[in-house]
Subunit: 184 residues, 2 copies
Amino acid sequence: MSLRIALLGTLASKGPASGYELAKTFDDVINQVWQAKHSQIYPELAKMVESGAVTVEETGGGRGRKVYTITEAGRTEIDAWVAHPEPHRAVRNETALRAFLLPLLPPDRAAATMRGLAERHAALLDDLLKDRAAIEARGASGEPPFGGYALDLGIRTFTVLRDWARETAEDLERRAAENGGKGR
Amino acid sequence: MSLRIALLGTLASKGPASGYELAKTFDDVINQVWQAKHSQIYPELAKMVESGAVTVEETGGGRGRKVYTITEAGRTEIDAWVAHPEPHRAVRNETALRAFLLPLLPPDRAAATMRGLAERHAALLDDLLKDRAAIEARGASGEPPFGGYALDLGIRTFTVLRDWARETAEDLERRAAENGGKGR
DNA sequence: CATAACATGTAACTGGTTACATGATTGG
DNA sequence: CCAATCATGTAACCAGTTACATGTTATG
């Protein structure tokens, strides 16, 4: 379902596009939020044509390029989906699972793992902060920035992840020091 | 892969259990972090027996109860997985996708959506805070709490989500007021 | 004896990934 | 003419969900 919405949203915000172009977009912009391979996108586009959410037009270009345009019905679908978040989606979070199982490692190894995680999250956070700085530098301020709310959410999320990993590492190091590295 | 680790982790921390009991555990404790239905658990246990990560023992009890015990090989697997987080897992985040598409809604509807989201996250956060309070009340303090790091991460995450939704709603409301509810 | 809780499994389907397959156009 | 890029599709497979199917033991 969400892939469908992500595709419709891209068509709504960027205008008509081919499957190839949509796949490219999923490699950069939306990548922080959702991704899909072309092998999933092409069949999905076919389904959307069938249900009337988009229309196709065949044009020239390598091996029969097809351009898809969102319809009013498609826009209505996005609207309904964005405005009506379902109550409680299944959580399947590898970082949280790692956090859960952390006490199964000896504290010093667990601490080292968290140090590494903190560093990686710090690096990802830096990337996002640079993205935002670049957008702010060239964009006229005051605009309702497309993707801006998602970027903000990403920055906040990585900040929390970095700090949590850092402080968990400190806690584990304190415990390791207290009882001389006993674990499990 | 992660389901396998989640099962091994549960067996490591809680001791031998049947598939039925593991399915129950996935309904409560680990539920915040990972979940699985019995229809996925039973085949996975069979695979783990085959690869030597666990051993089975058939006992009495409704329709041939089978009890699974983790082996040293299984413990090694957990250890390796927890300590070696892979660089960059695929992100597929419905909340972030919604955030991304928010500017496609008229600002007043977008703001209302974010208000609702903030409320739901606030409620989930309250639940987790109560969980932690209950654990702290009855548990001897100073213990390395099993699942405690994951709980901490959950609390921080929902706090960020609540605040982000709240502040995004405020931003959208300000914009809606400024230009009289024009959108899209 | 009926019902709830215990207990294990299979089948059909959806969503997503990896790999396979093909062909057109553009630039060096 | 060769390589890169544009461009679209299919097949096999893995993970996860829903629904189907079956049988046991304890309790009122």
